[in-house]
Every structure is written in structure tokens, then in C-alpha cells.
Amino acid sequence: MDHGAFDETKRLKNLEDTVMKRIVTIFLLGMLLVSSSLTAQDVRLLQTKVADILNQVPAHDLKQRDRVVEEMLALGESGLMEFTKMVVPPGTGDDTRVRYALNGLALYVGREGKDRERQLVSGVFIKALDQATDPLVKSFYLYHLKFFGHEEVVPAIAAYLNDPKLCDYAAQALVGLNNHAAQHALKTALAEVDAPCKLKVVKALGVYAPPCAEAEIRKLAASDDPQMRKIALWTLAKIGSPESAEFMIRTARDVKFTTDPSGAMRSLVSYTDHLAANGEINRARRIAYMIVKECTREDNYTYGLSGMSLLADHFGYEALHVLLKAMDDPRPDYRAGALRYARQINDIAAIRQWMKKAKESDPRVAAEIIDFLGEMQNPVAIPYIKASLKDQNPVVRSAAMDAYVKLLGKKALSSVLDFLKQGQGAEIVHAEQLLLPLCGLKEVPAIATALDQMPDQGKPVLIGIIAARRATGQFNRILALTSNEDPEVSNAAFKALPAVSSREKLDQLIQLLDQTGEESHIAAVQQALIQAASGIKSPGERSAPFLKAYNENKKIRPKILGVLPRIGGTQSLNLVGDVFNHQRRALKEQAFKALTQWKDPAAATQLYNIVSKGSKKYKKEAFAAYVRLIQKASITPEQKLLRLRKIMLKADDPGMKEQVLKALEPVKIFPALVYVAHFLDDANPEVQSSAAWTASKIALPPSGTRNGMYGSLVRKILNKCIPVISGRDSQYAKENIRNWLHAMPEAEGFVSMFNGKDLSGWQGLVKNPIARAKMTPEELARQQKEADALVPENWSVANGEIRFTGKGYKNLCSVKKYGDFELWVDWRITKGGDSGIYLRGTPQVQIWDTSRIEVGAQVGSGGLYNNQKHPSKPAKVADNQVGEWNTFFIRMIGDRVTVELNGERVVDNVILENYWDRTLPIFPSGPIELQAHGTNLAFRDIYVKEIHSETYNLTPEEQADGFVALFNGKNLDGWVGNKTDYSVKDGVIVIEPKGGGHGNLYTEKEYGNFAFRFEFQLTPGANNGIGIRAPLKGDAAYVGMEIQVLDNTAPIYAHLQPYQYHGSVYGVIPARRGFLKPVGEWNEEEIFVRGNHVKVTLNGTVIVDGDIHEASKNGTMDHNQHPGLKRTTGHIGFLGHGSVVRFRNIRVRVL
């Protein structure tokens, strides 16, 4: 480029800069005054498009990313330039979205077959590169260009090769481009650029290794700057031309063929490699030999290895003598290197030479060669290896055995057995390692035969093999060996017993148990018994022989106690409990050990008693065993929490508390979180940290989801966790907590109804809701005051519990009224107890002592007691013993109630009837009441979450994304139109056309651009549709648009047009077929509408993705007028066509 042209470019650039700045200013103004008409029409349009696109990044998936990129590309060069102008130097503003967008663009055009688009984007990036003033912004473009650019971007990049701030980025980019033009540009630049950049250019050139720059680089390789010398030598090595040979050798000789800062040896090795690759075989050979010869000293012998490796790589068999000679070297890694390179030369002649070498070498080297021969798997070596099996030297024999097995596989088995027979010490261990991969169950008979003939020192190995293969057929043989005179053999036989035992052998084993005295042997027989008994399913049947033995034989008792925890069964447990309580010393200890090892939660009660009443001696261990049992028990999370809370009261050191907290980690229910949070204030920092770990595990979403716990309480707890969480990986945990705090929905979530200290928020009961409604405010206030005055007589707060100890039926009522809600509450009753939870001032979710059969309490608590038409009894008994705590989870939506008692669903979405006036439905809202019924009661941990219909059934993820519910699950509030054919049943909108009535149900509000999600269930032949941007009158398919909802499979629709099938924009854009679920199953659909773009996703597959303007500009497919396509907003509706269809989970996000 001549200087004149350069100036001209610069001038133009300045001019452009000025213009661009002005445009940017205008643009910014436009952003500020969105609705202003200051800017010209077309500019505003472009910038709206840019803003629209940026709003869509980062795209949720890669398909969408490509779509967004296609929108970008459609804006052409000037449009794309708008994006580039928004990239700013780091720290001067937030350009995150635009960096996403431009990255997406660069990746999109880099793929195969996008040449036209790539050229457009190359041009834009180059222009942006030149227009940017900040070097870090420029580097952003250089970074991207190196991944997608082709020849055309070279000159623009090369222009920065002499810019000290950018030459490295430019050089990297030119390396990345990997094309001839880039290489040429680097070569040209080499002579022109100044010192700091020269290094980068030489380095970049090294990657291309162009021969013609060699002389220039050789000069640099003699430079005083060691850095430059190093890079230049490396580059010369890559070029690998014969002209540099003398120079490279001299340089290496100058540093005595050893490591130095200029890396002369490294370069010489690499040079030789390239030289050979370039066909300069003779020269390369000469240098490689020289390297091997010169590099044997302590400070350079690894280069000697390189020399050998070069020879093996390029000259194969010819290099063999060098490798053979290397075996005389004293250094093991040198010899191992030679053998490694020798693997490249797998021909018979070479193998013969190696065998010859092995014979001449000392045993250690011979062993190495034999090992190598084994790996080569060349059968020529078999006779030699076979002979070596009998070598005098044990190292050679072992290596030969290895190699023999490698060569012959299972055929080597009898040789290995011989080897074992004659072996001593290490050889025996080695034989075992060889046998395990050779022997499956099929080989066991051969092993068993060999076992009989084996000298004692080899027997344990074979016994071990039989055990490893679980050869139960060999039980008698192993049993016999338990009484072998050689202790090694009998030990091995005992150890093997469990593996070969089965239920038929129980009696033999019990007999053996009785006769066995040594500790380790007893343990082995006990294991064998457990293994044998595990074949019996019923615990009673399983334990019978053991209990029998216990009763018949005093001597065997302690041994039997050791087995019982793994045998289980009620009788066993009772026996162990009795022994613990009534026996002394040894037997008592045995029984205690058995209790702590018990496998099923039945032992929890006994352990709890030991913890709370037993001596200090047993407490700690019993505590740990209890926690372990509960942790592993298959009971509901609610039960786990209750039981762990109970034992926590007995914890008297931080370690015990930590055990409980750890055990609560998988208990992912809200009450567990608030319970654990108490320990964030513990005096001990370890306990605090444990509590924080557990709290975060409970509250945070499982990986990959966003369904974690949320709400103000959760937020408070998690914030408290961050400073106290410690230990391994805690930085991850903290980061994860912060991420969730950032992502969680803003909703209130569960809040406490009870502060643990007093009865704030609660008041006395005045009559009933109907009576109260009839009172004047003054009258109500007066009566309320009277009722409140009575509260302290009956209700009190102690120990974090609300207690009723009074008489009569004075309920405790929440001051606040609740409509739809979820409620957690713990309750405890006393003998003969009776209570309940009133919902919206109405009785009740029943609580009672299940032993009161006379009133029918045996059905359990949790039922909707006063229901007459709808079920009043709970589905099952889930109560804990009277005197223990219970947990209710109650959900009330509309008139329907769900109750879970201790984690079991006892009432499932049942209508609560209005007890006060049975002709009325339940009140829309009212207080939550704790019922008093004359017996002592306690309540604790009362948390309520109010459900507002706008978040009905939304996932936290959808809430975070801004979705709102259009259907509250109860009624058609928010909907207009045909409310007779459309009705709400069981939380679902159902259309049941009475007498073939058609009719549409529309949202009250209008929507323009939105994502509309819903679920629907078709009946055979069903036809419905979703009206979009529709007016309330007229045929929505034409005056708005209609997204078809249809059972495609029905025979009556066999001859439809493509644009009539399910999901189609009716008459305009056809949908893909085949993604509906079978009729009767629920389908999920999203209709995404933005401007002219309509996308329909059915059950996760996009079935329509089109532009209504494009699709209709030459007339629509159905040749009808669709004036509705021009509408920009309107109602969303269900368009009835006379068949039964159900809809639920209806939600929308405005875009």
C-alpha cells in the first residue's frame, strides 16, 4: 500500500468516524426517546429491529440462535454495522448482548456452505475493526476473524502487524486463518515490522514454516535477544530445510547438546523430524545418529531418546541396532524408551534380534525384553518365552509368565497353574493376578482339580479364585479346607466361605459357627450365614433357624447376636432388645452392638430409648446409629424430619448436631429448611456450616432445573448461609447460592403465621362466618374484644409451640383471611385428643386420636370431617402415635382441598362443603383456625403461602421469565364469551357443547406479541382452535387468525388440506404432522407470535415456524381473504367447533 493511498484511507476513515459518531448519537437519542418522532422513519425502523434482535439474545437454544442470526443477516451490511457500533471497551458500558449477537453471527457464517453470508460478515467485521478506536475493541474483531475469516480478511488484519498494541492479536489471527495469503502477509511483514512485533511475526510464521523466509529468520536466530533466538530457531525447525542444517547443528553444539534457554536442542530434534518429512532422508539420518551419539550424558540423555525416536519413526528396521545397543545403558528409562520405539518395528527379523539380545543380556534387561515381546504378540517369540518360564532367575520367569499369558490367553491357564505350583513368595502373588483375568466360572472346575493337587502355599490363591467367582458348587470343598492344618489355607477357606454359601447350607454353617473359636473365623462364618440367609425372603422364616440355635445352645448365643442385625425380623429385634435390657456384660454388649447395626428402622425406638434413658456409655453410639437408620429408612421426608428433630433434642455436642444436619440434606421440604435454619445461629461454627450446607441442598434447585424453593424466608435463610458455609468446595456452594438468589422468583413464598414467642396475628373466635357477616362492624369489634379476652385462658405459647390447655371449644383464629393457599403445620395431641384445622373459617381438616373407635377415629386424621356429599374420610391412616408430632401439608385452591399427613396424601383435591350453610359453596376466603375440642393440643411451625391466581401452576422458571397464568384453576375469571359451553371441572377448562352449540371463549385482555402456553386433551375427532389477535366478533380464523387444534388421526379428516391440520395457521401456514400424542393424552403447546413471525411448538417440536406476511403476500393457501393477518393485537381464545376438548395450565408471556 503506498502512502498516498494510506492517507486517503485514513481521511475517509476519519470522515466515517465522524459520521458514525453522529449516527450513534442519533441512535442513543432514539433509545432514550422511544416514542419520539425526532428520528427519521427508516432509521427508527432499523433500530427497532436491532433492539428486537438484541432482546432475543442470548437465545435459549441453538436453533433460535440461528434464527436470530438470520434476522441479523437480513438487515444487511448497514444493519450489521449498527450492532458493531455498540461494542464498547471493557468497563465503559454493558455490551454483553451485542457480544452475544456478534459471536453468534461469527459462528453461524463460519460453517460450511455459508460463503455468501461469510463474506458479508467478514466485510462488516473488518470495517468495524478499522472503525473502532480502542485496541481491546479491535482485538474483539481480530479474535473472531481468526475463526471464520478466509483470504479476503488478510490485508485488513495484516495492517495491524506493526502496531505494538495489536500485532500479537493480528499475528494470532493470521495463524488462525491457516491460509496461503496469511502466510504471505506474515512473510512480507517480517522485513517491515519493528522489534516488539517482529517476535510475534516470526512466531506466527513458524506455524506456517514457509521456506523462503529462511535466510531472514536465520539472521534473527543469531540475535542477542534470547527470546528472539528461541522463536527463530523453533521457526527454522518447522521449516526444516537443508540449508539450515549446519546452522542448527552448530547452535546445538554451542550449548553442548543440552537444554538451554534458546531451546537449541529442542529445535534440533524438531528440525530433524521436519527434515526427514521433507524428504531429506540422508541428512536427517546423519543428524539423528549424531543426536543419539552425543546425548548420553546425565544432562542430555533424554535427547538421546529423541534421537532414537526419530530414527525409529523415519527409518524403522534400519534403526534397530541403535535400539538394541540402548539396552546396554544402565538407565531404565533409556532402555524403556528404546523398547517403546521398537514397537514400531514389528517384523519377524526384528523379533528374532530382540530374542537374541535378551539371551545375551543380564536377567533384568532380559525380563524387560521379554515383557516387550509379550506386548508385541508375535507368535515367533512363543518358544523362547515358553523356555524362559523355566529360567533360573525369578524376575525373568515372572516376565515370561506375563508375556506367555499375553500371547496365549486362556490357553496359558495350565502353565500359570504350574507356575503357581512351583512358585514362591512374589510369584504366588503374581500368579493370582494372572489367574483372575483368565478364570471365569467356566474355569472353576479346572481350578478345583488343581486345588487338590496344589502344595499348601499355592492353595490360598486358588481358594481366592473360587471365592471370587462365587462358585457355590465348591462349598463342600471349601468347608473341608477350613480345618486344614496350614493356617494360611484354613484362613483363606474361611474367608472364601461367604462367597460360596447358599441357603441349603444354613445348618452346616450354624454348626460350624458353634465349633469356631477364632475371631476372624467367626466373622467369616457369620458373613457366610448372612449370605446364605439372604436367599430367604420372609424375615420370620429367615430368622427362625437363628432363634432356634439361640434357644438351644447357650454357647452360641453371642455369635448369633452378631448375625441378627442382618437377618432382621420382629422376633429377632425383640430378642436383642430383651438381651440388652436384662442381660449383663458380654451378652449385653453384643446386643447393643447388634442394635446399632440393625438394618431396618424398626430398631429406632429401642435406640431412642437408649439415647434418652440409657447410660452415657451407650448414648453416643446409639445416637449415631439412630441417625443412620432414619437417614437410610424408606419413609417420607416429613417423617424423617420429625424423627430427626426428636433425636436432635438429645444432641449434647456439636458433632451430634452435625450428624443430624447432614442426615437432613435429602429432606427437601420447606419445614426442614426452616428447621435447619435455626442452627445457622448455633454457637459452634462447624454446626453453622453444616446447617448452611444442608439448607442450601434443601433449598436450591436440583441441577439442571430452576425449581428450587423461593420466597422471602428462603431468601433470608440463604443469605445467612453464605458467610458461614465453609470447607471443601464451599466456593462452589456460595456461588451456587448467589446464583439461585439471583434467579429465584420474586414471590413472597411461605411466611410464618406464628413467631414462636406470642400469639401475634391470632385472635379469638366470634361465632361463625355467616353470623359475623351479619354483624355491624361495631358489634363485631365488641364481640371480638370479648373473644380475645378469653384467649389467654385457653391458649398459650411455650417452647416455640402454641398450646391449648383450656376447656371448651374456643378456636384460635388467624387475624388474616386466606383465599387460596398452601399451609404447613405440625400438631400433637394427647390421649383421647380431638382437634382440627378450619379452612376459611369452616370445619375442618380432622385431627383425632385414632384409638377412639367409638367415634370412628380409626380411619385416621386429615379427612374433611364435615363433608356429606364429598368424601369425608382420609384415604389411609398416616397418624403417628399419640403424643408424637405430626405434619400437615394442606393445599386449598378454590373449593378444593388436598391434605398430606406426614407425607402421605390422605385427601386428594376434594371439595370442602360449607358446614355453616350447606346450600352455599365454600366462602372465597376466611381465617385459618386451630380448633379447640377440650383436650390438650400443641401446634408449631405454621407456614402459609398464599396463591394468587396470576401465578397459578406456574413453575418458578416461568415466573422468572415473566409468564402469568390466564386460568386460575377455579373459574373463568378473566375470560369472556361463551361461558355456558365452556366450564371449569377439576381444575380444567372443558368445552362440552350442549346441543352442538359452537362458541368461543376469549381472554378479557388483548395480546399482540406473546408466547402462549397451554395443555390440551383431545377426544376422537375433536376440533377446536386457538384464536389469535382476534376481535370478539366474527370468524376468528379470518378476522383474526386461528391456530388449528385437531385430532388429525380421525378418519373424518382424512382428506384435509395441509393447512388444516393441527397447529396450522388456518388457511395460511401448514404445520408439520406427527407430533400429537395419542388421543386422550395431554399435549403441550406453545404459540409464539411476534410481529409477522408465528412459531408453534407442540410437545417440544416446532411444527410451524413462518412469516404470515410472506405466506400471504401472493394470496393465502386457502384462497380466502384473511384480513385478520394485518391485525397487531387482539384476544386469545378457544374456538369451539362442536367437540369435547379440555384445556389446562394456560399461561402467557407478553413479549
Partner: protein, 423 residues
């Protein structure tokens, strides 16, 4: 810094190998015993990178620590304190490598340094203990293999699930799985799903902060050296210690962090130690050019139809973990094949492997997880990273180790380094 006595110690070590014939090369079947360390020839090590991960390398058994190196003076100081007397500190790893008395070099640096330092260590005649992921690019891995071979070195990658410890959600180590797969009872090809169910945890959601403000570099940190071959970007604490995995320039997020732990054993079980998938598909949100984002699913398919699925969002709650045409193995090592457990026990063991690195160093036999199979499992990680970054399906040639018809992806195999660093 060089110590004459230790210099000669190394020489002594090598010489003893000559003088006591047949004893100094200790066959692995002798070494295998518990806690067996011949006191006379304990190997020595140096650790390069002694931040969070590097501390863990102090305790790896069988070697004596002689030197530590870090470009953060704070890390170096506290590491020296932890190490106690007799351990030297270095700022520049090349000086540590120049010490002739060090046998093994540990490389728990951030991944963008693994390749360069491994190659330099091989050249310096050191055996290498490298952290996962083995290398940040496929190209670097190819070069590491070349250097390790050329200089006759031993290499171990620091993940171990193929030969030790419970393999995540399966509740077993790999050995019985390998046995059952080798037995053919599940049929072929196999599909392996790794998901939250199998312990594939939230670390996969490592994501970098975007729009970082330039901040002054702390005095204790040589940031330019820390960056090394990575492109220069202004300092911000979010880029460096403990959180660098959130940036493509240094690692690949959770996939880089934990991917090789999960993928390597699978590769071993499927007998894919010498090959790579031919197809990589990805489901992910759009990625930022600098900061790593999350992804939902990566599917690898091999030429023979075997598949590995990384189910990042745990969509397959009940998925079979290993699934073949004739049977499945679920979480907790359950199976739809009756009595699978007892069946497995009747099968022969897999080939034995060398699983202590000191044994490998002394016998010069390859470690169970070495530069070659390690490179193939790191390739799985890197294929995933490239597919996520590019956001498209990739076709890979496992023999040539390059993508088919995708120049842009191939440029990610061989990424240019910042001068003067080069492969």
C-alpha cells in the same frame, strides 16, 4: 538455587539401578503390597501451580516434595509455609524444570497451561502428573503425546475412576461394569447416559460473569505470566483463581472441570481408549464469546453406534445408565437382567493395570490412565466444548483427529497462542 547434594542424589538413584542387578526394577507384582515404599529410592517431585488444586497434590503418596512454583506470590508463600523446610519456591516453571533432582512434575495449573508445561517437562526429562482436563485443545493433546513419547517419559492424568473409587451414581467401581460390558450380555452398541441421576452435578453449570470491568492487577500476581498463551484481556478477579473455569480462554466450565472424571471411565468401559466419536450433537443456549455458559445435553456417537449422552439437565430421570439392545443397567447398579450381580461375579476380571504412578515411574510401564487414553478422554471434553461454543453438530474423523467439512471447528483444534508461547 541448585543444590549439589540433591543433584548427585538423582545420579545415585539412576546408578543404583545398575549396581544391584535384578532388584531395583521392582516388578509391579511385588510393589502392589499395601504401603510398600522402599525407603532408599523414594522419588521426588515438584509442583507447578499451588493454588487451590495444587495443594491437593502435596499429599499424593510415594514421593518427596522438593519444589513448588506459582506466579502468585501469595500462593507461593503459603505453599512454602505448608510444605515446611527443604522445599524451594519458584516463580518460573522453567527454573523448576531445570532442577535435575526432581523426578516427577505435577501440573495442577489452570488447563490453558497443561499442554505447554507437560511438553516442557517431557523435554526436561521429567515424568508428569497432570491435572484434568488433560489439555485445553485437542491439538495440545496431540503435541503432548508426541513429546512424552519422544522423550521417553511416563505420564499420568489425575483422574482415577477407571481404576479406583465408586463411579458416581452407579454405586460401584468401574471394574464390574467393565466385566459385564466385556461379557457382551448387554449387546452392542451401547448407550451410556451420564446425568444428575448418576451424580452429574451442578458443577456443570459453571458459568463465567460477563461484561467484566478492568481492575488493577494485585501486586502479588504476575497476571501476564498467568495468562501465558491465552489472549490478553484486562484483569478482573473473576478470571483467575478458583473461578477461571468460567472462561473459554482457560477452561471449558463444568465440562472442563468435571467432564473428564465422568467421561474417562466410560471411554474405558466401552473400549474406546484409542478412538473418538464421529458425531457430536449439542443442546445448549447461545454462548458468549468469552464467558462459559450452561448447556443441556451433549450426545457423542461413535462409528460403531455406541453413544455417550451427557444429560446436563437431568431430563432422563429414570434413564438407563448403560443401555444395550439386550439389557440395561440403572442407577445404583440395578438392572433389568435378572441376577446380573451374581452373574458378574462369575466373569473373569479385566486386564490388570498399573495404578500407582511411582510403580509406573520405576518400571517404565504405562500408567493405567496415561497421555494416550487420557488424550482421548480429554478429546471428548474438548469435542463437547467446541460443539457448545460453535452451537452446531460436528462430524469428527477420529483417525486424522480433525473435523470433517468444518474449517471453523478445526481452527478450535489448533488455537493460536499468544507470543512467545508456542507448541
Amino acid at each position: 538455587m541448585q543444590d549439589k547434594t540433591s543433584l548427585s542424589r538423582r545420579k545415585f538413584l539412576k546408578n543404583t539401578a545398575v549396581s544391584v542387578v535384578g532388584l531395583t526394577i521392582i516388578p509391579r507384582y511385588v510393589l502392589g503390597g499395601p504401603g510398600y515404599t522402599p525407603p532408599s529410592d523414594q522419588l521426588t517431585k515438584g509442583i507447578i501451580g499451588v493454588g487451590g488444586m495444587g495443594r491437593g497434590h502435596f499429599k499424593y503418596e510415594g514421593t518427596r516434595l522438593l519444589a513448588v512454583c506459582d506466579v502468585d506470590q501469595k500462593h507461593l508463600d503459603s505453599a512454602l509455609q505448608l510444605a515446611g523446610p527443604g522445599v524451594d519456591g519458584y516463580h518460573d516453571f522453567r527454573e523448576l524444570l531445570a532442577r535435575p533432582d526432581i523426578d516427577i512434575v505435577h501440573i495442577p495449573t489452570p488447563p490453558h497451561w497443561h499442554g505447554l508445561i507437560s511438553i516442557a517437562a517431557a523435554e526436561a526429562g521429567k515424568d508428569i502428573w497432570c491435572e484434568k482436563p488433560m489439555t485445553r485443545t485437542i491439538g495440545e493433546g496431540i503435541k503432548v503425546i508426541e513429546a512424552v513419547k519422544r522423550h521417553g517419559r511416563m505420564f499420568r492424568l489425575n483422574t482415577w475412576f477407571r481404576f479406583k473409587d465408586t463411579f458416581y451414581g452407579l454405586g460401584t467401581d468401574v471394574k464390574p461394569l467393565k466385566k459385564v460390558i466385556d461379557s457382551g450380555i448387554l449387546g452392542w452398541p451401547l448407550k451410556v447416559t451420564v446425568s444428575g441421576v448418576t451424580g452429574y452435578n451442578w458443577k456443570f453449570y459453571w458459568s463465567g460473569k460477563k461484561n467484566l470491568k478492568p481492575m488493577p492487577v494485585p501486586e502479588n500476581l504476575d497476571y501476564d505470566f498467568w495468562l501465558g498463551p491465552a489472549p490478553y484481556k484486562p484483569y478482573n478477579p473473576a478470571r483467575v483463581h478458583a473461578v477461571f473455569r468460567g472462561y473459554w480462554d482457560y477452561d471449558g466450565g463444568g465440562l472442563g472441570d468435571m467432564g473428564q472424571h465422568y467421561l474417562d471411565p466410560v471411554q474405558y468401559m466401552l473400549n474406546k481408549d484409542d478412538t473418538s466419536p464421529t458425531l457430536v450433537e449439542v443442546d445448549a443456549p447461545q454462548q458468549h464469546p468469552d464467558a462459559v455458559g450452561s448447556w443441556r445435553r451433549i450426545t457423542y456417537t461413535y462409528a460403531d453406534g455406541c453413544q455417550i449422552i451427557l444429560d446436563g439437565e437431568n431430563r432422563d430421570k429414570d434413564a438407563a445408565y448403560i443401555e444395550g439392545p439386550n439389557g440395561k443397567i440403572y442407577r445404583g447398579f440395578r438392572s433389568n437382567i435378572p441376577n446380573l450381580q451374581s452373574f458378574i461375579k462369575t466373569l473373569p476380571d479385566p486386564e490388570p493395570q498399573i495404578t500407582t504412578f511411582t510403580e509406573s515411574v520405576k518400571t517404565r510401564k504405562k500408567f493405567a490412565l496415561n497421555e494416550e487414553n487420557g488424550h482421548r478422554s480429554a478429546t471428548l471434553v474438548n469435542l463437547g466444548v467446541i460443539a457448545v461454543r460453535l452451537g452446531r453438530t460436528l462430524h469428527y474423523d477420529p483417525v486424522k483427529q480433525e473435523f470433517i467439512n468444518d474449517e471453523e471447528a478445526n481452527r478450535m483444534i489448533w488455537q493460536p497462542m499468544r507470543g512467545p508461547w508456542s507448541l
